[in-house]
Amino acid sequence: MEKMLAEKPVNVNEEGYLLEFAQWDKDIANAIAVEEKVELRDDHWKAIEWIQSEFKKDSPLSIRGIKNSGALNIKEFYELFPGGPLKKASKIAGIPKPKSCI
């Protein structure tokens, strides 16, 4: 379905995840973050960049991956995106919902 985010039309699925990463930009990230009640600061952007770089490498996201990332640790990750960090961070980063159980 089409949705207006940051005054731009984007394609999202029924849960609000972007269907085309090419449509993502920082304004759209901010708009999704507002919906998710997250205020994006420098640390959030660092996490988002790391998640996107993993996505581009085709490596599946998991909480264990966060632990071994070197970019951020699990505690920080939960503090940055409270209440479902992997899902929220993925949504804001414009990538599909992670399918991993761990």
């Binding site: 599946p60 909480i63 699990i74 505690k75 939960y78 209440g83 479902g84 991993s100 761990i102």
Partner: protein
């Protein structure tokens, strides 16, 4: 998943077979990833999963487990448990499942509270120093029930 009415999951882990330990760990971690609080109460044999010297040496049960598709007598032969365990660990590594020690660290960092059962600790003559440093404490079952004292809390015995 959309909004869930489950707010808190309390797991009681009473067994030390690898499949049961991982069931509790995956579910506790999965709860946190959905924004649900999670705690684990280790009791009886479940305590092996938080004993420093034992936690990396847990085994899959090959006897009394029909899903192993192996005659019980074979499962009881020396070395069978170790073989089945190493095979399962390999499969789990392929799925990026962390070993028990690393999984405990992940749970702790994710905000899962880890408790040991006082009665079982006494029964096995364990000292606090035998247990992992990340442990939140040793509780009676009454104390643990006290932690279930809010709406949307579920208890699960494994």
């Amino acid at each position: 998943m959309s909004e869930t009415k489950v707010k808190k999951m309390l797991f009681i882990l009473s067994k030390a077979t690898l499949e049961n330990v991982y069931a509790a760990f995956v579910m506790a971690n999965g709860a946190r990833m959905e924004g649900i609080e999670a705690e684990i109460f280790f009791t009886f044999f479940g305590l092996e999963a938080i004993q420093k010297k034992k936690l990396e040496h847990l085994h899959v049960a090959t006897v009394g487990n029909p899903a192993m598709h192996m005659p019980t007598m074979l499962g009881g032969l020396p070395g069978m448990e170790a073989l089945a365990t190493s095979m399962m660990k390999k499969e789990m590594e392929k799925l990026n499942m962390p070993p028990v020690g690393e999984f405990l660290e992940i749970l702790k960092d994710s905000g899962v509270s880890l408790w040991a059962c006082k009665l079982a600790v006494d029964m096995f003559h364990l000292k606090e120093t035998d247990l992992i440093d990340d442990l939140d404490g040793i509780l009676t079952i009454g104390d643990f029930y006290g932690r279930a004292n809010e709406e949307g809390t579920h208890l699960l015995f494994i």
